[in-house]
């Protein structure tokens, strides 16, 4: 290696070091610490009873019906909100991509939900559905006495609605970037080849956007799986809407049981890794196919 390359390399590492160290310290160390805590019986209310208990916290969590119920709730919210967002986001992306006029207005307006503080959005929707103050019950076709946030189905629906409202713009923007990567010429070629608008969308646009769709789905699925703010504000986990993040928070911060709480934290971390691996595999395979490497 030449002296020049060596010094370039040294400079590069010096420039990257602060960011890398910060990321390692603030994520790597605490997650390691969480693993260590999760192996102990450690409740801040009884700090003197702290002892090493091996995997028994995990056994407790994994055999509790609360954990599995929360996993189920989280899955419902994740799947429902991400799939609605995908369809809705695609529609908005198509409007932004193809609209002849008003593109700027659409772009500006979809960025509003993106910019809004999640807690604010959660309050807004909560008040909208509140039987005492909400305008929703004033709308035609909606029962005057409905109180969706007092029962499970309604609460889940409002949570999903809030999540969808807030994050569809992000989805739409990622999909829009994907749409922009499909050359106009291919659409024209398909037109000449005899494909109608629907066929063009399903046979040309969608397959070519697959990597972009997978990236968008990956980010949104991970995000939705960590859902915390909306649930905390709207139900605080009541009415059978507790998610894994809320559970972790309750055990760690409210009940200050650091041992069990850390076990929950580590399990969530593992679940996220699982989801990410799943998507990254799919993504790798699909981009490889696209480039023709697999053929």
């Amino acid at each position: 290696m030449s002296e020049r390359r060596r010094s370039e390399r040294r400079l590069a590492w010096m420039l990257c070091a602060p960011a890398v160290i910060a990321m390692l310290i603030v994520t790597g160390y605490p997650i390691g610490y969480a693993v260590w805590l999760s192996l102990q019986d450690y409740d801040l209310r009884f700090p003197d009873d702290r002892e090493f208990v091996g995997l028994s916290n995990y056994a407790d969590v994994l055999t509790s019906s609360i954990w599995w119920g929360d996993v189920w709730n989280t899955t419902i919210i994740t799947v429902a909100s991400v799939s609605i967002e995908l369809v809705l986001g695609m529609a908005i992306a198509l409007i932004m991509h193809r609209a002849i006029f008003g593109r700027g207005a659409v772009r500006a307006s979809v960025l509003i939900p993106y910019g809004i503080v999640t807690v604010v959005a959660a309050f807004g929707w909560r008040y909208a559905f509140d039987p005492a103050s909400g305008f929703v019950q004033n709308l035609p076709l909606i029962s005057d006495t409905a109180a969706p946030l007092t029962e499970r189905g309604g609460s889940l629906a409002v949570i999903v609605l809030t999540e969808v409202w807030k994050t569809t713009p992000f989805m739409a923007l990622l999909l829009l970037a994907g749409l922009a990567l499909v050359p106009d010429e291919l659409h024209e070629a398909a037109k000449v080849d005899g494909a109608g608008p629907v066929q063009r969308f399903f046979r040309i646009t969608l397959p070519l956007m697959k990597p972009a769709i997978l990236v968008a789905l990956l980010f949104r699925t991970l995000d939705a799986f960590r859902v915390f703010d909306t649930v905390y504000i709207q139900t605080a986990g009541a009415n059978g809407t507790e998610t894994v993040s809320i559970l972790g928070y309750q055990v760690l911060i409210n009940r200050v049981n650091l041992g069990v709480g850390s076990a929950v934290s580590v399990l969530i971390f593992l679940a996220v890794i699982l989801i990410a691996t799943f998507f990254v595999r799919g993504l790798g395979a699909s981009t490889a196919r696209q480039r023709g490497e697999a053929a």
Partner: protein, 391 residues
């Protein structure tokens, strides 16, 4: 297979800009016609209107006798080859070529048979299962051709299909396109900005400029009988030299000497007093006077100080200046702009290029005696730019 007729076809954009103005063109069944012109002349727009990718504002388009103005591309039974090929990157060569047939719900065996047949014509058989990303430029181009051939359409439309290839491959593919077209006998409209391609490929060539069709004819017609300054300047390489000239009685005063008015120009000129015209002199109508021999009488010999000599091996290009007052023609200025060059040879500066035999002894910086073949002189009206040769 079918003929294509453009009847006063106009494309006007919402902002009022007219990309194609009242275009009339008849393409016979099986004919290979080239639309050529500088960029922005409306040739691609015209092609895209035939394809149905652009709406026709005014006029009528008939393919095989049917008016197709309002038909979607898919209902026109045409195939198109795009400049960037527009191959579907997620499909194999086989799928790309069979896509249109699949959409038309053709039986699978028929698709396979036709794809294979086209692949054989194009020498693509061993690449059928590869993705476009793994093909070379020439192979991609052939797949794009194959996609058109497979459909056995009424017409092929080609939008600068060779412009993305390197020079050598372009020449090779040019022959191939020509061979395939004559073998299949399918009506073809081919757009290019390259006049060499236009001259070598088509049965007929249609020259366009700023949305208007200038002249349609066989390559030799365009070369020998350009109807106006634009066509004269656009066809031929190196381009025609333009010099100011005056006509007095039976004599044309050129900056390089006087020549008699030829019979063919007499009617166009009409007699009268002195008249300014623009003379067009093709570089290949010059010769080194020492090499002319007994043809010398036909033309005029003159002295010129040679500025630059470019040797092409088989021929020489000699550049020299002549004394002129500059040709004040708006037509010429526009021509220069359209051609994208700073100036048209001869027009402003009096710079002239002559193509001489390789045996010529002219050298840079020296005086030389050159000869011009007076029979090959073109004359144009200074105002309108129209050729003065009687039709």
């Amino acid at each position: 297979m079918a003929d294509i007729v453009l009847d006063h076809v106009t494309k006007r954009y919402p902002d009022g800009y007219e990309a194609v103005k009242e275009m009339d063109l008849q393409v016979a069944d099986g004919e290979f016609i080239i639309l050529v012109g500088p960029s922005g002349c409306g040739k691609s727009t015209a092609l895209r209107m035939i394809a149905g990718l652009e709406d026709i504002t005014d006029g009528e388009l008939r393919i095989g006798g049917d008016v197709v103005n309002d038909r979607a591309p898919k209902d026109r039974d045409i195939a198109m080859v795009f400049q960037n090929y527009a191959l579907y990157p997620h499909m194999t060569v086989r799928e790309n070529m069979g896509f249109a047939l699949k959409l038309a719900k053709a039986p699978k065996e028929e698709i396979d048979r036709k794809v294979l047949e086209a692949a054989r014509i194009l020498d693509l058989e061993q690449h059928l299962d590869r993705k476009p990303a793994n093909l070379s430029g020439g192979q991609r181009q052939r797949v794009a051709m194959g996609r058109a051939i497979v459909r056995d359409p009424k017409a092929f439309l080609m939008d600068e299909p060779l412009s993305n290839l390197d020079a050598k491959l372009r020449v090779q593919m040019r022959t191939e396109v020509s061979r395939i077209q004559s073998r299949l006998g399918t009506t073809t409209v081919y757009v290019t900005h390259d006049q060499t391609e236009a001259m070598t490929l088509g049965d007929r060539v249609a020259v366009m400029r700023t949305g208007r069709l200038q002249q349609v004819g066989r390559p030799s017609e365009l070369y020998n009988d350009p109807v106006n300054l634009f066509v004269a300047g656009f066809i031929g390489s190196p381009a025609m030299n333009f010099l100011p000239a005056t006509v007095e009685g039976d004599t044309i005063h050129l900056p390089i000497g006087d020549v008699p008015v030829a019979e063919e120009h007499r009617r166009g000129l009409q007699s009268g007093g002195a008249r300014s015209v623009i003379a067009g002199l093709r570089p290949e109508s010059f010769e080194d006077a020492a090499l002319v021999g007994d043809q010398r009488e036909r033309g005029i010999a003159f002295q010129a100080k040679i500025d630059v000599v470019e040797s092409m091996g088989s021929e020489l290009y000699a550049y020299f200046a002549v004394e002129t007052e500059g040709v004040a023609s708006q037509e010429l200025e526009e021509l220069a702009q359209d051609a994208g060059t700073a100036e048209v040879p001869g027009a402003e500066s009096g710079q002239v290029v002559a193509r001489l035999d390789a045996a010529s002894q002219v050298s840079e910086g020296a005086e030389a005696e050159l000869w011009f073949d007076a029979a090959k002189l073109h004359l144009f009206d200074a105002e309108s730019g129209r050729s003065l040769r009687a039709a």
